[in-house]
């Protein structure tokens, strides 16, 4: 039953993403993207990952808001729909190679639903007793692998500083003693 729902959701997500990529109207594209994110969140719930589902849905909301903010009131004339032929060839070539290798490589992966769990067994056994956190994901994120989480917070921090640096009105001070700067 779970598998059936999973397949249906996955197919819907793929359809949704194709719509998001191919539709002409940018706003509809962003909305379709939001639907894909919502579907993904439900898939995460099905796969017993409530933490991830929660984060996915709120992050998706934020992404859709800023994307809509970017696309709102942009005239359609400026939104091309045609593809870049060279890029399309490169993409299809790469995807073909990837799919070809992947289909043989899938056989090496453990069966779906039966992960090997070499390291993870330790988390299940010791997570509660050693860290005292009932949520094992929180235990892994902030204790066993807290350093990764620092890195993640730093990436977000970097992006925020980056965004506020990029949106500056004036990037370069006017060079007074130089006349005729070419690259300013």
């Amino acid at each position: 039953m779970t598998m059936m729902v999973l397949y249906i959701l996955l197919v819907l997500m793929i359809v949704g993403s194709i719509i998001a990529v191919e539709i002409k109207d940018l706003l509809s594209s962003v909305v379709a993207l939001g639907a894909v994110g919502l579907g993904l969140s439900i898939v995460f719930l099905l796969l017993k990952a409530p933490d991830v589902a929660l984060t996915q849905i709120v992050v998706e909301i934020f992404m859709v808001i800023i994307l809509i903010r970017a696309t709102l009131r942009r005239d359609l004339e400026s939104s091309p729909t045609r593809s870049r032929p060279l890029g399309a060839v490169a993409a299809i070539g790469f995807i073909a190679i990837l799919m070809m290798i992947a289909t043989t490589s899938f056989k090496d992966l453990p069966t779906f639903g039966e992960p090997a769990m070499r390291v993870a067994a330790t988390y299940l056994e010791q997570g509660l007793s050693k860290t005292g956190a009932g949520n094992l994901v929180a235990a892994v994120m902030l204790d066993f692998r807290g350093y990764d989480t620092l890195g993640e917070a730093t990436v977000l921090f970097t992006a925020v500083i980056g965004v506020s640096a990029v949106v500056r009105r004036i990037g370069r001070k006017k060079a007074n003693r130089l006349k005729g700067r070419e690259n300013a």
Binding site: L54, F62, T131, A133, L142, G146, L156, V167
Partner: protein, 141 residues
């Protein structure tokens, strides 16, 4: 925005913020955590700004203040890690794990969650402000 939107917003903004805080504080017990909660806190401010315009939102949290809180949050998180280094190892969970399933359990985990939520909440609001302010400027031209 219309009166309906404003009234509904007035009622819901507090709830969203409160739910975000709840998610942060319960991060080590049930699903959620600093990131999800932080995003919710940011979204509550975004919500307010969309309904009431930027002046009202600015009164609550200006861009400079948001950037300050963001840096503060991530600095606190690094501080927790460095306190561990003082105690022996980088990222050592130096507080006792405590009794499981209580609010004060998990050693440093709840504190890290709060630091992260500060960072994420303030940071994402800054991003939104930067992008929105930019849009307004360009439309005015």
């Amino acid at each position: 925005m219309s009166l309906i939107v404003k009234t509904v917003t007035r009622l819901t903004v507090g709830l969203i913020l409160l739910y975000g805080v709840y998610i942060v504080s319960q991060g080590h017990l049930s699903s959620g955590g600093g990131f999800a909660g932080g995003v919710m806190i940011a979204l509550s401010f975004v919500h307010m700004m969309l309904a009431f315009g930027k002046e009202t939102a600015f009164k609550k949290l200006s861009e400079a203040k948001a950037l300050f809180f963001e840096s503060l949050g991530v600095l606190i998180f690094l501080g927790i890690a460095l306190l561990g280094l003082v105690g022996g190892v980088f990222f050592l969970n130096f507080l006792p794990p405590g009794e499981a399933f209580r609010l004060f359990s998990g050693g440093t985990i709840p504190f890290s969650n709060i630091a992260i939520s500060l960072n994420v909440g303030a940071g994402l609001f800054t991003v939104f402000l930067a992008i929105v302010l930019l849009n307004n400027d360009s439309e005015r031209k």
